[in-house]
């Protein structure tokens, strides 16, 4: 046990504040200067609705149940005579309630068709709780701010699809 010198804390307090006074501050000047966010920051979820098949995976996996999806089926008539009609899901409603979203990113990861993306936009506070529910159109507009995917790290494992594809190629050196 070391005995503390009396008054050391008092001097320390003065020293810390003095250092702050004489050094440049590190405060972020946010409204004037936009922050530089890391490329994978989670601001808001953007929806690319052309990719969505209304498979409901995201809505089912969402831990806080903040995603609401409605869709209907449309029949696409057969193009060739005697062919079979095909059906397609058409999205009617895709809402994300950001008042209960916990930004866990499960929906984005689970989406099989890359319809959901993280956008770094974070400034969408509202005066009314109800306005935090973003509908399909609003979610679509966030797509504009989604950055292009990051290049892989040098030396990183390639994508699974690529590996499978390469493995399927006829071996040249054998």
């Amino acid at each position: 046990m070391t005995r503390r010198t009396w008054g050391r804390g008092l001097l320390k307090g003065l020293a810390v504040t003095w250092r702050n006074l004489t050094h440049r501050s590190v405060t972020a000047h946010y409204p004037d200067v936009e922050p530089e966010l890391p490329p994978r920051s989670r601001g808001v979820i953007a929806l690319q609705e052309e990719n969505c098949t209304s498979c409901m995976l995201c809505a089912r996996e969402c831990p806080s149940w903040c995603i609401t999806i409605d869709s209907h089926k449309e029949i696409i008539p057969a193009t060739t005579e005697g062919g079979r009609d095909r059906s397609q899901n058409v999205l009617d409603r895709f809402d994300i309630d950001y008042s209960i979203c916990m930004y866990c990113s499960i929906c984005v990861e689970v989406c099989p068709f890359d319809a959901l993306h993280w956008s770094p936009e974070f400034a969408y506070a509202e005066g009314d709780l109800k306005d935090l529910t973003h509908d399909m159109n609003r979610l679509r507009t966030w797509m504009d701010s989604v950055p292009p995917p990051q290049p892989l790290d040098p030396g990183a494992e390639q994508g699974k699809e690529l590996d499978t594809y390469r493995a399927s190629l006829p071996q040249e050196d054998a």
Binding site: L14, T17, W18
Partner: protein
């Protein structure tokens, strides 16, 4: 006739100092605190470095309504800001700034009992917050007022004791006399007294870390809860005027007043510099230290400051006799 003119001019100068110096201290507090806490809020108003922050504050205070609660003791409630503010103006009258280009001393009125007068006036200033606390008709203000009273009683004693020690060393109660008698080695002998005087003065002004009476967490500004608009602004101005008076008094008593190079010509500049330095210390202490609990406030006064002040008195006595 010229004597009357002289007196009027001196009064006017004191009034000007009373209206500008506290604002300067306020501006310094805004900027220093902002830098020390890495905040950008006080740097926004106006253009360069947020120079217009005080102007914005003033406009804000003028716009707001001055409400008197129904339960309040009307007279006491409305008089309290005045009682808090005016004594500091009175105290400033008797504090010397030093020679003005060799033209005699820059002081409102040189009193034989200057030190006694200033200390008495400062104590009246604290009475203003006490009146606010007891007259507001609000239990939180009442508790705040009670805390002010306890703090006032505790810290008056060490403050007066250390001031008395300096007066004893100088052999006079006149502030001009004390500053004239000051010698550099007093800095060492009177150092405990200087610290005690400064700390006790901070507590008298209810400045952090001694702002338990205001305690915005549990008492919501204590005695000042019910005050709004200009009345609140007057309390605020009183606080800053208090800082100026405390700094000036510390300067005159312990730091040699206008002593410095070319002090016959530029004495008042040295005085102002020292006042600014002590005011900066007041602000620095506010940023650096957390608020003391109510029992800690009184324990510090009675268990530390009073014994140190008495010891200081003893030392001074020995030095004077020897």
């Amino acid at each position: 006739m010229s004597e009357l003119l002289d007196t009027l001019l001196r009064c006017l100068l004191v009034l000007v100092a009373f209206l500008t110096l506290p604002l300067l201290v306020g501006q310094m507090e805004h900027k220093t605190m902002a830098h020390m806490q890495s905040r950008v809020g006080p740097m926004a108003a106006g253009g360069f470095h947020g120079w217009a922050q005080l102007v914005a504050d003033g406009i804000k205070f003028v716009q707001k309504e001055s409400i008197t609660p129904v339960a309040a003791d009307r007279r006491v409630f409305e008089l309290a800001p005045v009682v808090a503010l005016v004594p500091y103006l009175v105290a400033m009258l008797a504090i010397p700034l030093g020679p003005f280009f060799g033209q005699g001393n820059l002081i409102g009125q040189d009193l034989d009992l200057g030190l006694f007068f200033v200390l008495a006036a400062m104590s009246v200033g604290v009475l203003g917050t006490l009146m606010g606390g007891l007259g507001s008709g609000n239990k939180y203000s009442y508790i705040g007022g009670m805390r002010v009273a306890a703090q006032l009683m505790s810290y008056e004693l060490p403050m007066v004791l250390t001031a008395a020690s300096v007066a004893m060393a100088a052999g006079t109660l006149s502030l001009v006399g004390i500053a004239d008698a000051w010698e550099p080695w007093w800095l060492l002998v009177q150092l405990p007294g200087l610290v005690v005087f400064f700390v006790a003065g901070l507590a008298e002004l209810q400045r952090p870390p001694f702002d338990a009476p205001l305690a915005d967490a549990e008492l919501v500004m204590g005695p000042l809860t019910e005050y709004g608009g200009m009345r609140f602004a007057m309390f605020l101005l009183a606080e800053y005027a208090g800082i100026v008076v405390l700094a000036a008094l510390t300067t005159v008593l312990f730091l040699g007043g206008w002593a410095g190079p070319w002090s016959d010509q530029l004495g008042w500049v040295w005085s102002l510099l020292k006042i600014a330095l002590v005011s900066f210390l007041v602000i620095w202490a506010r940023v650096a230290y957390p608020r003391l609990r109510e029992d800690q406030v009184n324990a510090l006064a009675w268990k530390v400051l009073v014994p140190v002040a008495l010891a200081q008195l003893l030392i001074t006595t020995l030095v004077v006799i020897a």
